[in-house]
Symmetry: C2
Subunit: 275 residues, 2 copies
């Protein structure tokens, strides 16, 4: 592929702002890549919606990203990865990866006692997709899922280091501690922001797997394999990334500037239902 | 009007399951009325969406309810009451009422020091609609709004009497206590389920206004004025109410059976975008 092809951006999408944790890992680990981010803030959350609905929404977003000339797509949303990824993969002219498979792989490599915990939204846990992918790799693994619906609103209230959040986390995690897991997948985009608190509660004997980081590593591998990685460093002063939402741009700017390694100023609102 | 006309159901709609608190008050206070409930669970929440979008959604829902032969419509959603009610009122062959005006009216009657607090979602508080309606009635009233984004997820986790919820409520309400309000509007459909906790924190000097209850009273008055109230008691063993959602029927069933005075078994999913 020519230089022009390689310079095209990577598309990353999520149901809202949570996918910025994946964006952060991509920026840190493949800093030469341009990014087009879409957050479906008008229809967030996905965690409680049906497969059929998530599939329709994901198809609209992918159509929008293709109009932005992306060379690859990352589904940064666990629910969309669970419900839509395999079906839309075959409909696309560019490669697509989700956050679930990379997380499952690394958890299988990390566990010693074959007891893996997964925390996520109700939708992600009920879908059983982590369990399915883990069992494909390690058929005898025991996977214990736990939905933690309050973690997202607590993070979005900025209460990452709050005693209330710690109390909620202790309750959610108590069952997993009793189940003697040695590996825990942070199966929702917001959860890496609670990483240190969850680590403290679970103790040193439990390895935390951050699918956001693992997904960035998988993306790098994929781009190299397909000859799609950008080999030209980004120009000094270039504003290489673009951010889009379906509603309320200002809330994305605030969250982005609190976690990304670069400052963003412009977020454009689009009508995703037109795609 | 004939008996047949009066026996037609009342339509109630909300962005999701929260409007069931209004449904509960209608069942308690006008038990002879049949109800058709619609919860837009595929597009919940409305609080962060634009007026244009909410208006489009509300028109679709109203068209659906009219196919169910309703004799009157209650907008149980604060955001839709704020953004859509006045515009669609003129397009309808049946009367329609919202939850905001009944709550504002009663708060104005209750306050003695003219200092009224309003709690709600970010969208409701930012819209300033309660302030506007209160000032229409009492131009010198001081209205102090406070968004409480964690209340809805806490209620949906069933943590209505939990110490965590109490701690969160204490923090949200502290500023309102300092502002010396004597009346507090529970301006979100979920909040009446936290009524006793909020009452305990605010103390006896503060009157709590529950717009769900006031709306049921307004509905009864409206039906009587229009000669539309049902005068035949519902038959023993009749299943008089119907529930519809745009996604995930099971989540409505769970919530409904935890708060309604009757048990429901069937909730039908419809594609609201077709209306």
């Amino acid at each position: 592929m020519g230089v022009r092809e390689r310079e095209r951006p990577v598309g990353i999408f999520d149901s809202g702002v949570g996918g910025l944790t994946v964006t952060r890992e991509v920026m840190r680990n493949i800093p030469e890549e341009r990014i087009v981010y879409f957050g479906d803030t008008a229809r967030v959350p996905y965690g409680s919606k049906s497969k059929e609905t998530i599939l329709r929404y994901s198809r609209q977003i992918v159509r929008f990203l293709l109009t932005q000339d992306v060379k690859a797509i990352v589904v940064a949303c666990n629910t969309a990865s669970a419900f839509a990824l395999e079906e839309i993969r075959h409909e696309l002219p560019v490669p697509i990866i989700g956050v679930v498979r990379p997380g499952a792989k690394v958890a299988c490599a990390a566990t010693k006692n074959n007891r893996i915990g997964v925390i996520g939204t109700k939708g992600t846990i009920a879908s059983g997709l982590y369990t399915e992918l883990i069992r494909q790799i390690k058929p005898d693994a025991e996977v214990i899922g736990k939905a933690c619906p309050l973690f997202v609103p607590l993070v979005e209230e900025g209460m990452m280091k709050d005693t209330v959040t710690e109390e909620v986390a202790r309750r959610y995690l108590a069952g997993l501690q009793e189940q003697d897991i040695d590996t825990l997948i942070l199966g929702c985009t917001h959860y890496p922001l609670l990483r240190s608190m969850i680590g403290k509660i679970m103790g040193e004997g439990v390895t935390l797997v951050n699918p956001a980081y693992e997904t960035a590593c998988s993306l790098r591998t994929l781009l190299i394999q397909e000859g799609l990685q950008n080999t030209e460093p980004l120009a000094e002063g270039e504003n290489p990334h673009r951010f889009y939402v379906s509603d309320a741009p200002e809330s994305l700017i605030g969250f982005a500037n609190s976690i990304l390694p670069v400052n963003i100023e412009n977020v454009q609102k689009i009508n995703i239902e037109e795609y």
